[in-house]
Symmetry: C2
Subunit: 442 residues, 2 copies
């Protein structure tokens, strides 16, 4: 292959990394998740490495259930900064890296989201992205006047309408609407300012935005479409999808399914980038990589580790941690636990090993290896059409990013899989995507 | 007076300045309101001058009524950036100046506001302020699922509860709750994390925030309390009030009224700063200052100028602009027009002069004079207890700020009325206010 397909790379930077014990790692500053300088270092490092984007997952609440007792106070999923303000602050100390923040369609209003992300796109010179989520936790519902979470179908119905309203508001101003003619006193061409007048089941939004058309036409839309309704939103509107398959077969099936749907929306197959998440444990040798995994695993206290099994399996505190994973006696819990039990049986895991597996990447896919192993794996996923790139979820930050840049990127570049410079100033150009037309423009 | 009272100074930086023709001024870049570098220059200039804060007013909508026809496309109150994202972006390129953004309690949820402003306070190292408004325009209602604006009393009732919820969420974490003990694996002291569990008429919000206690304890609260309900919210919670009186007598009455209310909430008189807005036309001579006013007035096209009278007086397009202001024939319009008519009669203004007066500072107080005149005026307001400082609303930006820094600040400093350096890193310290206690802390 003289011209291998280029791989897109994002860095997820929530909390102090994706390992449950990240904050206890010798390299970690445990207070860094509340400190701007920490994120500035990550974003500037990723930008110097010419990566596509930094990303912040989000939930608008904290689960305060302390199950089993003692777990909550050991969790670093309790302290963070708010994604939109953080990425806006990063926009002025970076110049090329994409800035993708999450916001929920269940607990926001489309006018705010359209306006804030349009603003971020201007502030950053065309580097904003919105990761569309519908939220899932009771903790979030309880912060927004609800006793329980909105039910699934309604949530996705709302999300689909929400996204259409936001896209409509982003078309308020045609690109050449402002004329700024000081002589005649005419600031804009009124025929190119459009009032949306949306009236739907969930929203009634008039518009227009008071923000002119953005450098990217509109911000990049990101989705993590898993179930049917999410896949349809992704196929219709997303530029990037953060997928979550754990193995290559599932990745290929997901990729084919989603890419096949694009045609029904009149879209090309390469107009959407699929970027599965992965937590990498990187070493110069396999032993060094395994040592990194083991060190972090040893820092997961039982209370915290068992909390990752609690929701599916109930309280396992009474069982020997280094013994087998028990079959739950409660039949209700048993059905929830099926996936975890299957994993434990397949790999013959103890309780400690099982929670260590989950804790290693907050439940996402993990991979332990040398730079060569890792790039082999990436290349395999891309060539097999299971991925267009990867959303890196480092176990510890900034360490995991520094290791990736130092060890893995050179191997990727040696194989011609990753850029040596940015194609243009906007995230859209970096991703190789074409600007969207304005629905009103001729 | 050997130790005159220090004057607080803020700079309002919405749009391209507070004059309706600001964008047509020879010094203005008419596209600058959409550009980060414009605001960065303003914030960094104000910071180099040791001013207290920059401020962004806001409304979440655009009035698209084109009355009289041709007015809308001449208005620069149509293009801007969103305040919160903009101030977050400024936080990383400034280090001392306060950053105050407006958000509406009618069209937001308290959990979002508490979280975003807490985040901005961390990002900025303790320089965030929230200007609490209830919104007033139909245009905003139409962007948020409503046919008309929420009625006045309900709006303020919601605002009062909203502010209490936000303050409660800001107390979620006691300052010393995080312990970050890597050895024991305990990240925080759970007895110092507090769940609000608010249940009220308008909101049900559980909490806690996932953001630790902020550098200022909580962000600075700003209000523009005018009517009764607003004054009560200000007296109870505000650190700063942007007042709007047009003359000294009204300013004194407002000041006395608000300061007197503080005691009923157990607050000291100097725990709240009253900062009336003013648009200054500054010249080395009075003639030069008047010339600046006249130049800008000449740039207000009749369509635009008449739009500032339209809501109160109806369409005056048929009347000679340089003739007297007519008595409206419609009795309904007549009562709305009373204030404007009284002003026109008192100063014997033509239609053109009347709209020029309004257009000069978007309806706020204006003052034309030399640095000496301006500082005399400021000193008079402060000594008469009508103000603790001023919220400057320059007619054209950045010109008006540059002139203020170059011409007026030296005169203020010569009289010992304004600082030569910041007292500390936080806005609270700059304003000379004490940190709020956490309601849960011993």
């Amino acid at each position: 292959m003289s011209n291998p397909k280029q791989i897109s790379l994002g860095v997820s930077m929530r909390y102090l990394g994706y390992h449950a014990a990240a904050w206890r790692h010798p390299s970690a500053d445990p207070d860094a998740a509340s400190r701007f300088s920490h994120y500035r270092y990550i974003a500037q490092t990723a930008e110097a490495a010419k990566m596509d984007m930094v990303f912040l997952a989000d939930g608008v609440g904290m689960r305060t259930k302390d199950e089993p007792p003692g777990a909550l106070r050991r969790s670093h999923q309790t302290l963070e900064l708010e994604p939109l303000t953080l990425l806006a602050a990063l926009s002025s100390v970076t110049s090329r890296i994409g800035l993708v923040a999450t916001a929920s369609t269940t607990y926001n209003e489309p006018y705010h989201i359209a306006r804030k992300w349009a603003s971020l796109d201007h502030l950053s010179g065309g580097r904003a992205g919105w990761n569309i989520v519908t939220s899932w936790s009771e903790a979030e519902a309880h912060n927004f006047n609800r006793d329980r979470h909105m039910e699934y179908d309604l949530r996705y119905e709302r999300a689909a309408e929400f996204v259409e309203v936001v896209k409509g508001l982003w078309d308020s101003w045609e690109a050449d609407a402002p004329v700024f003619d000081k002589q005649s006193g005419i600031l804009f061409d009124q025929s190119k300012l459009h009032v949306l007048n949306h009236v739907g089941k969930h929203f009634k939004v008039k518009g227009p935005l008071t923000i002119k058309r953005t450098p990217q036409g509109r911000p990049i839309l990101v989705q993590a479409g898993a179930a049917e309704q999410g896949l349809e939103i992704a196929a219709r509107s997303a530029d990037v999808v953060y997928a979550a398959p754990h193995d290559l077969a599932a990745g290929k099936a997901y990729y084919a399914n989603l890419k096949d749907r694009l045609a029904t929306h009149g879209r090309e197959r390469d107009s959407l980038k699929i970027m599965p998440g992965v937590t990498l444990f990187i070493g110069r040798t396999r032993q060094e990589a395994q040592d990194q995994y083991d060190l972090l695993a040893s820092l997961v206290e039982p209370e915290l580790g068992l909390s990752y099994l609690y929701a599916q399996m109930g309280d396992l505190s009474g069982y020997p941690l280094d013994g087998p994973v028990p079959e739950p006696s409660n039949p209700q819990v048993r059905s929830l636990a099926r996936g975890l039990l299957a994993l434990a049986r397949r790999d013959n895991l103890t309780i400690r090993q099982l929670y260590g597996t989950i804790a290693a990447g907050f439940g996402g896919r993990t991979f332990i290896g040398t730079p060569k192993d890792i790039v082999d794996d990436m290349q395999e996923w891309v060539e097999a059409e299971a991925a267009d790139g990867f959303n890196l979820c480092p176990p510890v930050l900034p360490l995991g990013l520094d290791q990736f840049v130092e060890l893995v990127l050179p191997e990727m570049r040696a194989r011609g899989l990753f850029r040596t410079d940015y194609a243009g100033p906007t995230l859209r150009e970096t991703l190789g995507l074409t600007p969207p037309p304005n629905r009103y423009a001729p």
